[in-house]
Symmetry: C2
């Protein structure tokens, strides 16, 4: 124990402070500013195995709405008075572990704050020369891997099949559509508003692009899927799913990774009760509905990173980021995320 | 062509008649006697490749309710004035194909009638010495294979896991429970009424047996599944599924092969709309919901028959038949099937 010593890269620094956004109360419906509190506190110095980090970018993602609630879910909730959780790209200021040096850029899970102390073993060093560091929060990070693993493992698109995805300018949806194309499938993207719809076709190369706000959206979807739908990658729920359901082909696969349209619901919608309608579709069409969280497929991450990095380099995989300046803007930016106001992967730029 | 000749086992017989039950009109809700018509007509003599059969036993199964409707489904509907469809065990009266001789017993698809003319290539000869011939309609037939293929391919029960099935004295449910036990899982059976519940425990060896009519059924189900539910084999739908949903474990599998509780519904039930509730369970628990028809898995039939026949011989697989005498009783017997009045596999004995 300790006989080998450890090299500690440490500067003499005054007590380090962090400015953080904590959960002050659990939202009912839409999260409001009153549900959060911004405070500045002193950070404990890093213990052995830890590093002190300065947050450069904070990822904002729909799943965070679930963590604000204490309803049973796949992950424990953020506690009241606890810092809101979130993936971060940070600069190392101080490290007790020789694996990291001050100045290194890392992917971590620092949350909604300017500085954090994290265990080095949970950090992943990023190579700024390989790809822009923000991509570790989007197309090369959790959202991209969600798209990759859910589409390939559950959706299994075959050449010539039709894949439909909503929120298709978002980091999951855009990646689903482009990987579907790489697999030889036909990709139909759905988004809200003409600006996003134009991006689907022009930037991301979807074969068809639809606006779910159009009054005749269901008819447009039928026209855009003349051979029906073989894979519906479900990351929004709500009215889009209602229009998709009658278009699903026999043996269609529906990976379910998000239901953002419902996240602010405080009670079930009024009837009729369509649970039996969904089940009868599952039966009549031999559908597969499969919920998943990307962590289930982490054994595929070693395939994903090189493949996605190569596709990025080849120009076959494009991405779009919506970078909002300043941690102060995290709450309104997150509110906008839940109603689709962002254009691409939403990232808060916390520091240069 | 024809130079080899074919041996025709043919007796000189007067024109053969069949008494048959045809669909006279499509039921709205519960099928009523007025939806059917019994008539006696002359049969055309068998053409080359066909055989003339006398029906001994007619299988009645819940899927037939779907064939009475012209709503889109996995199989075309029975046409108006057409003989109601159904699997049959029959005796060969006359065959144009040397593979079958008069007196042979075959599994066919003759429908609700006393005699039929069928293509020999669609018939399967039965060995009355190997198992009672009625088992070809139940435990060793389509219902048994539905249980086997859906449970093992989609449900994939692991030793120690908990498998729940409803309509558990029926030919699918009883077989699901017993194969679950053979796989080392814990089997919880659900049925309607004390007589059936007693059978689940005493005859079929379920680890727990519950009456879905009990006012505290949901509480009983919770008590009977202390470790939650890993596989729910869905063949009924309705209130049983409502009680199962909150008990499902993470990564639970739900093969969906029938929804008999809903088959007579003429409109969706009143709200609230629980479609989003089901989807959020799929997401939060990483559930797999998978509809299927056993025909999808016919490549496993070669494994099923010897395995199930051996389990029958070993006494590890038991079955129960509810034999109703006379084709005249097919309509009321079918009405009873949709409300669970039968006790075991429902079979009409059409002739000795």
């Amino acid at each position: 124990m300790g006989t080998m010593g450890t090299v500690t890269h440490r500067k003499v620094v005054p007590p380090m402070k962090t400015t953080r956004i904590v959960l002050a109360s659990r939202p009912t419906g839409r999260p409001e500013p009153a549900n959060f509190r911004t405070e500045t506190v002193e950070l404990d110095p890093p213990k052995p195995g830890q590093a002190l980090l300065q947050t450069l970018y904070l990822s904002l993602d729909p799943y965070m709405r679930g963590r604000m609630s204490d309803a049973p879910s796949y992950a424990p909730p953020v506690e009241i008075d606890e810092t809101m959780c979130g993936a971060t790209v940070s600069r190392v200021l101080e490290s007790t572990d020789p694996a990291l040096r001050p100045g290194d850029i890392v992917l971590g899970y620092g949350g909604w704050q300017t500085h954090s102390v994290e265990y080095v073993s949970y950090l992943r060093a990023l190579d700024p020369a390989a790809a822009p560091i923000t991509t570790a929060l989007g197309v090369l990070g959790m959202p991209g891997f969600t798209a990759y693993s859910g589409l390939l493992t559950i959706g299994r698109p075959q050449p010539g099949e039709t894949v439909v995805v909503a929120a298709a300018t978002g980091p999951v949806g855009a990646t689903v559509g482009q990987i579907a194309k790489i697999q030889g499938a036909r990709a139909v993207g759905i988004a809200g508003g003409p600006e996003k719809v134009a991006l689907l076709r022009d930037r991301f190369g979807f074969d068809a692009a639809l606006d779910h706000r159009a009054p005749d959206f269901a008819d447009q979807l039928a026209a855009a899927t003349p051979d029906g739908i073989d894979v519906y990658f479900e990351n929004v729920g709500g009215p889009v799913f209602d229009a998709v359901l009658p278009r699903l082909n026999k043996f269609a696969r529906i990976p379910v990774c998000g239901l953002v349209a419902n996240y602010n619901d405080t009670e079930l919608p009024p009837g009729p009760d369509r649970l039996s309608l969904l089940m009868s579709n599952v039966l009549r069409k031999s559908l597969t509905l499969r919920g998943f969280i990307q962590t289930e497929f982490l054994d595929q991450a070693g395939d994903f990173y090189p493949a996605a990095t190569q596709w990025l380099a080849d120009g076959r995989l494009k991405y779009l980021e919506d970078v909002v300046d300043g941690l102060d803007n995290a709450v309104p930016a997150f509110q906008g995320l839940l109603t689709g106001k962002n254009l691409g992967k939403l990232v808060i730029k916390v520091a240069e």
